[in-house]
Symmetry: C2
Subunit: 446 residues, 2 copies
């Protein structure tokens, strides 16, 4: 048996995950709008044999006011362009179950899976912000519980639709003029609380059966959903202990839900800031932080915590009433992580902004390639991670540095692949191709 | 001044527009699921300097029963993959205003326009079938009038969203840390009957301002919508007289709506079946027709006319009660074209199926390259067309034959370009880039 292998996902974000990365002289300020930038990043990640690349998404303009407003290409639309320029790497895009219809979205993911030869993954989000609701004709954002109930039914419908064509439904029998086998293409007649969908889907079953199902919800409901459905989980943790606790909890919940713990991969985020020496790495981190616009960070934080900027004092701790508010219904559970960080380390708002600016709450690791590899190995071997969501502080340089200097060390230690073994995203993550549920039903009946 | 130039759009459809094309020995039966097939077709069309390619779409499985069930990749998702493999040709995809949200769809088209460098076009449809409604949680298909009212507001919202970023909103000023100019990125605060959308969009204004707006509705409401909004109109006509009447009517309506008649291009469909001699062309047409499965055609026709197969007798005319039904509310106006054809030529159902199988009601022209070019020139110069929607009966062969044999004749006659002059889809069609309406409002206010 080979040693357990690490999984690496490259989380791609404009000119980098550090909020000021676009201001570096070598950065392309409009990188997030340039498909060639993303193609290049995907090719770097593929050359290093990453499992996948990933695009986050949300249906609002990011930021506001004077300093930082970023537009973003729609990731699922982008994915086929990246597919055309790569061969093996997995392609994960975020899409919301709150602001999509299952028929249309199931079809789009099936299309990406067909076009890419089985490389599609779906980061399932439920969209927590008021701003998104206001772009989709809703007066209020739906309650968190409602969002996750809808997500659950949404996924059920999507899976039924992907299963509505048996794997052998396409026949292509020119002789007899039979293009498909009608007995192998079935309506789903879903009647639920949120959706009534007749089906069948108008695309054959995706090469992977279903796209890889990814999730990143950190609330109670989010974790319950992940334990039930997710095959890869993105998380943000600052400490090994936090990460271990989450890892143990989510694997336990998956097993309790009747699943194989190895089929639920936990991928914490890591923002590596790499230098030949520790001093060089620290200098690079400082340089990036100096480029931050504090007013921008303050505005972002205020928006995230749903308070007015005037309620936050840069040189004081977060006020109690602000902390209290984030316990209310519907709050993005990431706000808890931010508040935990501020409280654990008794940070002022200014210090907190410094910690968030680089990685939005993810684990920023500043050091030499060996130091970064050590953190990865520790988390991987100490029950905190099955792999990592690699978030280059600046892109492409941060991803290149990781690929050139950290990946070889991980290989030497026998932790990471030198070559792809399979062709699909599921192959890379060692996850099974799901059986067709409708076939199983059919088999029962016969 | 150069002579008025013809516009050519390549309507791409699986292994061809003839329903039996996939059964030809040289056809790829699963062509519709193969991105490489579409990339190849787009490259053929681009090499011949076509204005654009086009994908139709609908959110249901096509056909049913024993003989022909086709799956189809989602065209907007496909478009960026085709964009990556081409440089200049326009890329038009169909999307429904009945089963999409304006924020999400405006963003996806803006993304395709950015990724392709200004080559996106949107064929706006309102989705007339019961089957589509049943895939989107609706008990009934919406009334036709409602669908077009929604389409009208949908387009308004989309245009406001594309205009929510001024053309110069992206600044990228690294020195001052200003990524965008907040005064040039504006909410839209749309409050309408169907939609309430805050905005702004999270993608900068598309290179073309708006994607090219295409429409193909043939009903009263459809024509009213086209005259108001469409920049290119796809139509199906069997005779020069029909096409002339439509051309005159729609241009008149556009002018009445305050538009420039030259900014509304009419593109009838043509299904060219080409041979070196007329006899060869006829033999090819006969060969294709012999491959048809009559039961399939009957089922398709019955579904289209919303009657039971048993109500149609292959060797009799369409029964009166069936003709009557198509006058009812909500019927796809294309059913009128089919019925007009049957009545004008006193066709039996079997004969009607023969006429429809090749081009679904479009003008099938069987002949030598010169004969096909003659029809095109006549329609173009006699007030029936500004260009054509070229529908290869078999693909790629039908498109190749057209590009290799008909296009050179059109060039000799000075009717069609030898080189692209501009870079965007609007450039190819000679259509202006729309001004930013919000800028104009702003200018008024200042
Ligand atoms: C690495 C990572 C990536 C995420 N990407 C997105 C995203 O693209 N869009 C989004 O709306 N939320 C994203 N989230 C947020 C989660 O999906 C989730 O909404 C958030 O953690 C709040 O959890 P909850 O919904 O369970 O409260 C991401 C979270 C993490 C950790
Ligand atoms: C060339 C051509 C292409 C069309 N493509 C589509 C399509 O992709 N999807 C669709 O739903 N309807 C399509 N239609 C149908 C029209 O959009 C329209 O629904 C139909 O002509 C009925 O018109 P009405 O809606 O005004 O009744 C097409 C029509 C033509 C002539």
């Amino acid at each position: 048996m080979t040693t357990r292998q690490l999984h690496l996902n490259a989380f791609l974000m404009e000119a980098g995950h550090h909020e000021a990365a676009w201001r570096l002289p070598e950065s392309e300020a409009g990188a997030g709008l340039d498909v060639r930038h993303y193609v290049r990043l995907a090719q770097i990640a593929e050359a290093a044999r990453f499992d996948s690349i990933f695009f986050a998404d949300g249906a609002t303009v990011q930021g506001s006011g004077e300093f930082r407003i970023a537009g973003q290409l729609e990731p699922l639309t982008l994915l086929t362009a990246v597919a055309a320029a790569t061969e093996r790497i997995g392609l994960i895009a975020t899409a919301s179950t709150t602001y999509n219809d299952p028929y249309a979205l199931a079809r789009r993911f099936a299309t990406v899976d067909h076009v890419s030869g089985g490389r599609a993954g779906w980061n399932i989000v439920t969209s927590a912000t008021h701003e998104e609701a206001a772009n989709f004709s809703l007066a209020e954002r739906p309650l968190q519980a409602t969002r996750y109930e809808r997500a659950d039914e949404f996924l059920q419908v999507a899976q039924k639709l992907w299963d509505s064509w048996a794997d052998d439904a396409f026949v292509g029998d020119k002789e007899r003029g039979r293009w498909g086998d009608p007995a192998r293409i079935r309506s789903i007649d879903h009647e639920g609380r949120f959706f009534q969908v007749a089906g069948p889907l108008n695309v054959p079953r995706p090469p992977q059966g279903y796209p890889l199902l990814v999730q990143a919800g950190a609330s109670e409901q989010g974790k319950a959903f992940a334990a039930k459905h997710a095959e890869a989980i993105f998380v943000a943790h600052q400490t090994l202990e936090q990460a271990q606790a989450f890892y143990t909890e989510i694997k336990g919940r998956a097993v309790a839900a009747g699943r194989d713990a190895d089929h639920v991969l936990v991928l914490p985020g890591i923002v590596p800031i790499i230098g030949d020496t520790e001093a060089e790495a620290t200098a690079l981190a400082r340089h990036l932080d100096d480029l931050r616009v504090p007013e921008y960070g303050l505005r972002q934080l205020a928006a995230f915590l749903e308070v007015d900027e005037s309620e936050l004092d840069l040189d004081a701790a977060l006020p109690d009433h602000v902390v209290e508010r984030t316990h209310r219904e519907g709050f993005d559970s990431r706000s808890r992580l931010v508040i935990d960080l501020a409280q654990r380390e008794s940070l002022t708002v200014r210090q907190l902004l410094g910690r968030l600016g680089g990685g939005r709450g993810h684990n920023v690791v500043i050091g030499t390639p060996v130091q970064v590899a050590d953190v990865i190995e520790t988390w991987f071997t100490q029950g905190a991670a099955d792999g990592f969501n690699v978030m280059g502080a600046a892109l492409p340089s941060g991803l290149e540095a990781f690929a050139d200097t950290v990946v070889p060390i991980l290989r030497e230690r026998g932790l990471f692949r030198t070559e792809y073994e399979g062709t699909t995203l599921r192959d890379h993550y060692g996850l099974p191709r799901p059986a067709n549920q409708l076939d199983l039903v059919g088999a029962d009946v016969v």
